[in-house]
Amino acid sequence: MGVIHDNLSRRKFLSSAFMTLGLSFGLGTLFIRFGQFLTPEKKEKRIGEVLIGNFTDIPDGAATPLEISGNKILVVRSKDRITAFSRICTDLGCLVSWDAAREQFICPCHQGVYDKNGKNIAGPPPRPLDRFEILAKGENVYIRV
């Protein structure tokens, strides 16, 4: 009797184990697919050069905010040097603004401070501001985004 009973329970155990395994595998893959449906694909960044203006159009000592295809950019000119920074604070994604008097970029969210070269000098930001490449072709200034 005991042996038969043993076999039966083992058979039961195995069949329910297979059932559980199969179900969790099936449902698992289904839900992974659902998750993939919700996760957007990363868009490939297209790089292009955009004319932002004549050299003399860009005011000296000030920062000009621009938005080019979703990139929020600050173009800073000091004398004959032009640099372009991403406005997105490297801390938590707020937008920095240019403080002309102190020649610094300030993020209002956590008082992060960057110097005029975009280097993080105070507050929580972990790295310097992202930069965009500036190309000068004659008098015209282009930005690579």
């Binding site: 990363k42 938590l92 994604g93 603004s97 969210c109």
Partner: protein, 347 residues
């Protein structure tokens, strides 16, 4: 053992229901710290009703969201009243959940089968915080827009799961119209479903596993009286509901909801701040190194869920958990208050 007649004769469904609603509940539920469980439940009912009402006017599209909230607040008849009730009720709900947790923690009510109640309750608490964040973002004024940017970025910085979580929440790498519709879906569909399951589970667990015993150790449990769930206890909950309703209606009348300027993706609000219940965490991650701060927050959440098991582990080894819990809860309340005030009262 003697078998009673009731046990031999199978009860009809009607009898079972009558027994269930007339079950005896302990008298200590009459004291105010023990009403802190019923209060969030009543508030949740208010939130559900006012929330459903607002979905009839709210438009979850970036160009229209702010306008529709403005219409609810200033144009639609009684819109300000519905929105005000919703806004106040969620703040009160989170506050009462916090107090409820402190009460449960101090009295160690998560012991003796209470673990399930604690786990479900912790689930309810964090779901409520998710409700708070998503709802705050739906307003779509400038403060809430940048709050949404900052919080989703914070989620993105979490170790391991961060990047995927960010993409899932935002529906892309940047905050866009997909972000708003996702937060709207979470706020009005998925989270309500989740919290209703959790609340039902929590209440069932409390009823089936029994109310927490009074006192800090079982020897000192005072013998106390009982009263019926219905009508006595139901009347008490009714009384709480009426008091809460009067309070909420009065406060909304005195302080109708307001609205900031429209969201501007090109201009950060000067006073970016999350709702008060996130202020402590927001301050915390700015005063400590970022990775360590976020790691500490995650560790805290894990320890929080696991606390009943930690308690059991330690008390088996002879630790006086009553003292430990009093110390932890006093420290937690003080730290939370200091961080919150530090963030809210800007110098």
């Amino acid at each position: 053992m003697a078998i009673t007649i009731e046990e031999v004769k199978e009860k009809s469904l009607k009898d079972k229901i009558i027994d269930y609603i007339q079950e005896d509940v302990p008298d200590h539920l009459y004291t105010w710290p023990y009403t802190l469980g019923a209060i969030p439940l009543v508030l949740f009912a208010i939130l559900l009703i006012t929330g459903i009402l607002m979905t009839f006017y709210y438009i979850p599209y970036p160009d229209r969201a702010y306008e529709s909230v403005r219409d609810i607040t200033y144009s639609i008849y009684l819109g300000w009243f519905i929105r005000g009730m919703h806004k106040l009720a969620v703040n009160l709900m989170i506050l009462s959940l916090l107090l409820h947790m402190v009460r449960v923690f101090i009295t160690r009510a998560y012991k003796d089968n209470g673990e399930v109640k604690w786990l479900l309750g912790a689930g309810i608490f964090f779901t409520s915080l998710a409700f708070g964040f998503t709802g705050y973002s739906l307003v779509y004024d400038n403060v809430s827009y940048w709050g949404m940017v900052v919080v989703t970025n914070m989620a993105g910085e979490l170790p391991v799961v961060g990047k995927t979580l960010l993409l899932l929440l935002r529906g892309g790498e940047e905050v866009s119209e997909f972000t708003l519709i996702r937060l709207y879906d979470l706020h009005t569909k998925l989270l309500p479903l989740l919290i209703i399951v959790l609340i039902t589970g929590h209440i069932l667990a409390v009823r089936l596993l029994g109310f927490a015993k009074l006192g800090t150790d079982l020897k000192s449990v005072p013998t106390e009286g009982m009263h019926k769930f219905f009508p006595e206890h139901a009347m008490e909950v009714g009384l709480i509901s009426i008091c809460l309703l009067i309070f909420i209606v009065d406060i909304v009348m005195l302080f109708p909801p307001t609205l900031g300027t429209a969201a501007n993706p090109l201009e950060v609000a000067s006073n970016v701040s999350p709702p008060w219940y996130f202020s402590a965490v927001y301050k915390w991650i700015t005063i400590v190194p970022r990775d360590a701060g976020l790691f500490a927050v995650m560790l805290f959440i894990i320890l929080f869920f696991a606390y009943p098991y930690i308690d059991r582990f330690l008390s088996k080894r002879g630790t006086d958990m009553w003292r430990v819990n009093i110390t932890i809860s006093a420290a937690a309340v003080i730290v939370f208050t200091i961080l919150t005030l530090w963030e809210i009262v800007r110098v």
